[in-house]
Symmetry: C2
Subunit: 502 residues, 2 copies
């Protein structure tokens, strides 16, 4: 079947090198000439569009409305919330001028910044402060609450070490912002949104997650509680894939979001915020990819079936292309998971069959259908699934193939989830003493450790974690029981998951 995939790096040898190569081979994205910023190419962007489509509909079912807030934040806004500014001031893009002029005496030389702003502005690293300003104007009575707002937008954090999709200076995300009259409603909202993200990852991206609360030191700057979904990549490292924050009245107080309750008393509103980003595309790649490239879960794949016509000589061309086109047409009338199944015929004439085959593999298209003279004669297709070895094929009669197509996609979707779940479960190691903890993270290639913990990890054990290059990922919401803290020996009911993380 022609030349092998051009992914030269094996996952096991150099996971990070493999990751970068896979992204380029699938034409998902590429680094840009702007430090730490990427170009998201059409194929990568279409995955993001599918993610948006599902989540946006889910948000709207919950009464969330989209809106748009300014890109630029005045410094005075950042300064309002002390923890917030500490969290974001160190890495942000600062706008200081509003004009460019040619350097003196140079008509066509270098441009230099002119028109200094009285107050510099920061490109939003997140929008709690500017949304808080707006909410303080929109809310005056308990009747104005709850308010649930979301925006799909770009944000900027000046990261020093960047990696495409995982950590870039600019990235795309959605940020939800809500305000409630009561603490309970706000807490419920924060919990509901992290559960929604978890369910989305499981059902659409085939990625199982550990849902938990962040330890105090890992909280969002300004939050009372941060909930996260922690996922496991194939190299054993954890990836935080989404967060939801219960902000208490911290931002209400700094922004002045007050309302009169039903007894006429002035109260501070309770707020939350929550978000997921284009990082999810990185999670898909590192959860499911193999040595031939990415593998896209059918429920999020922009294209489900690539039909590859295989020509022996020019005489076959016409009838094979007709046959392929007919299959494409018939697939397009089918649906899977409530949406049309998408198919395309790779009609390019200047590429050999083997090259087309490997391009479809590298792009992670769930199913490949090869049709040649034999298939035309027998009215069959040769089907390969992207979650199986690239050279494995099954022959179906056309009718059986079309009838089974939704099931085949569903089987693949579930198979991908099952594999990822088995890997997650196998990688969580219960650890019962400090010595075990140290040994685990010194020896193991990588993985997660689950242990009872009574101390604040940011205090007493900070040095140890830093030495081991490990962090507290979360305190799982599902964990029960009681045990002894691995550091203090004190009885506690709270488990914490540790791991190396992206």
């Amino acid at each position: 079947m022609g030349q092998k995939s051009t992914i030269r790096t094996h996952r096991g040898d150099d996971f990070s090198g493999w990751y970068q190569e896979v992204i380029r081979a699938a034409e998902l994205a590429e680094p840009s000439p702007v430090r730490g910023c990427m170009v998201i190419r059409p194929y990568g962007y279409s995955i993001w569009e599918n993610i948006q489509l599902v989540l946006d509909a889910e948000f709207k079912k919950l009464g969330v409305q989209n809106a748009y807030f300014p890109l630029l934040i005045p410094l005075s806004f950042l300064e309002q919330e002390a923890k917030h500014v500490e969290g974001f001031a160190k890495e942000c893009a600062v706008v200081t001028h509003h004009r460019l002029e040619y350097a003196p005496g140079q008509e066509r030389g270098r441009l230099i910044p002119k028109g200094r702003l009285e107050e510099p502005l920061v490109i939003r690293p997140t929008s709690e402060t500017i949304v808080g300003w707006a909410l303080s104007r929109w809310v005056s009575s308990y009747r104005d609450l709850p308010i649930k707002i979301n925006q799909w937008t770009n944000v900027m954090r000046w990261e020093m070490r960047t990696r495409m999709f995982l950590r870039t200076s600019e990235f795309l995300w959605q940020e939800g912002h809500t305000a409630f009259a009561t603490e309970q409603e706000a807490r419920e909202d924060a919990s509901q949104m992290i559960a929604l993200y978890d369910s989305f990852l499981e059902h659409f991206l085939a990625i199982p997650a550990i849902v938990g609360e962040k330890t105090p030191g890992e909280r969002f700057p300004g939050a009372e509680s941060t909930y996260a979904i922690e996922t496991l990549m194939q190299d054993g490292k954890a990836l935080q894939a989404g967060t939801s924050h219960f902000l208490g009245t911290n931002f209400s107080k700094s922004s002045g979001i007050t309302f009169l309750d039903d007894k006429g008393r002035e109260q501070y509103a309770w707020t939350t915020s929550w978000g997921v980003s284009t990082r999810l595309i990185g999670a898909i790649i590192m959860s499911h990819g193999d040595d031939d490239g990415i593998i896209l879960p059918p429920r999020i794949a922009p294209l489900h079936v690539m039909i590859l016509p295989i020509f022996r000589d020019d005489n076959d061309r016409g009838c094979i292309l007709n046959f392929a086109t007919e299959i494409e047409r018939r697939i397009s009338s089918l649906s899977y998971n409530g949406k049309p199944i998408t198919a395309a015929v790779d009609r390019r004439e200047h590429l050999r069959g083997g090259d087309k085959f490997w391009q479809a593999v590298k792009k992670g298209i769930p199913l490949r259908v090869e049709v040649g003279v034999r298939e035309v004669d027998f009215k069959t297709v040769a089907l390969s699934r992207r979650d199986a070895s690239a050279r494995e094929r099954s022959t179906y009669s056309i009718e059986a193939f079309l009838e089974n197509l939704p099931n085949i996609l569903d089987e693949m979707q579930h198979n991908m989830l099952a594999r990822a779940r088995a890997r997650l479960e196998a990688s969580v190691q219960p650890v019962t003493s400090k010595e075990e903890f140290v040994a685990y993270f010194k020896d193991a290639a990588a993985g997660l450790a689950s242990c009872y913990l009574s101390v604040d990890n940011e205090g007493e054990i900070a040095d140890l974690l830093s030495e081991l290059k490990v962090s507290a990922r979360c305190m799982p919401l599902s964990e029960d029981g009681e045990g002894r803290c691995i550091f203090t020996g004190k009885a506690t009911g709270r488990k914490t998951i540790f791991g190396k993380a992206y």
Copy 2:
């Protein structure tokens, strides 16, 4: 019917004051604390979402793919295209630092910018240069062409005088960027896209436009030809509502977008770019609004029918609400223009019927349905159309109302277009001499003048235009015939439309 609308300003007295007031009354947007930037509120944003939905599908039918390019542009990119930099350098936000620190000795004082960048970056005013960089990498053979890319995003131009939706420092738009192997294909693309915008405005926004080419001085910086749709607002001023640029090989040359043609010769690609922005929302307001507020064309309205329960006393409440809910449910199963008709019941208890009525009016919701005891008894509804006087009502039996609802919406859509078209046609004044030209723009409140012109208006007549505060809007594509230039008396086949403009 309760208190009158709270739009205090009449269009005829102070169009600009009316415009600002209408935007706030409908909760479309509001100014932000960041100079020249606005907050787009959920209701305003939902109009933008509807615009996106239609246009995005149209673009995709033409083979356009969405992607995402970095927000920040290096100065060296802007410098590449001489005219481009002249057009944008005077009004742009410049990022010069990547960190904030507290001023020395001030733990909690003012933050100051730190971490100066080696090369300052500009927040994109438009993306030709960075897209050009990417295209130069993606294109190497004629087989890679055409490429048609679009992004939905924010851009920033540091405007001195801003007005919500029409001219803000930051705005949302879509920018399409294409590259072709031949000049003809690129010219056809630029024409096709301006025709698509024109058709969208006419069929969805009920706004007729004059489609034309910009005079040389009004071209996009770096374009060979700029096509525009010019629309007429109710105050007689022109609003440029969308543009499409044939860029020739200007950006290919500055960005190095070359390819080998089918004979192996290196060639420059021919590129175009085209865009519409949130300015379209301003166009809707100023084309259709009346002294009671905005009027939304049914095909773009987020909500088609507001159902207003009218209570006389508490005993009626239950049966009236049931009746209203039943109407809402039945409307939701109907469709208009290929999409579900949307209805809502205003169930708020703390507002009086009159207040709800005027809120629906101010929000420009196409239809209002009032239901009280009488309607429940007779199984009727009292219907008011937003394009008629607020106090006009028709009574329909429920069945007749539901059966006719799609037609009523369609009638309103066409009525709005017909009104706007009549206004446009009445306002274009043929002008045959310089004296007439001067008199027209000195005397008339405002309007458009159509005249034969053989001179380059940016040269010889620049002072006159500047004195009259008038600009060349476009050279209509539809104009034919021949006449004498109003300035030189020379015979010419080209008409130009002049007007005062936003």
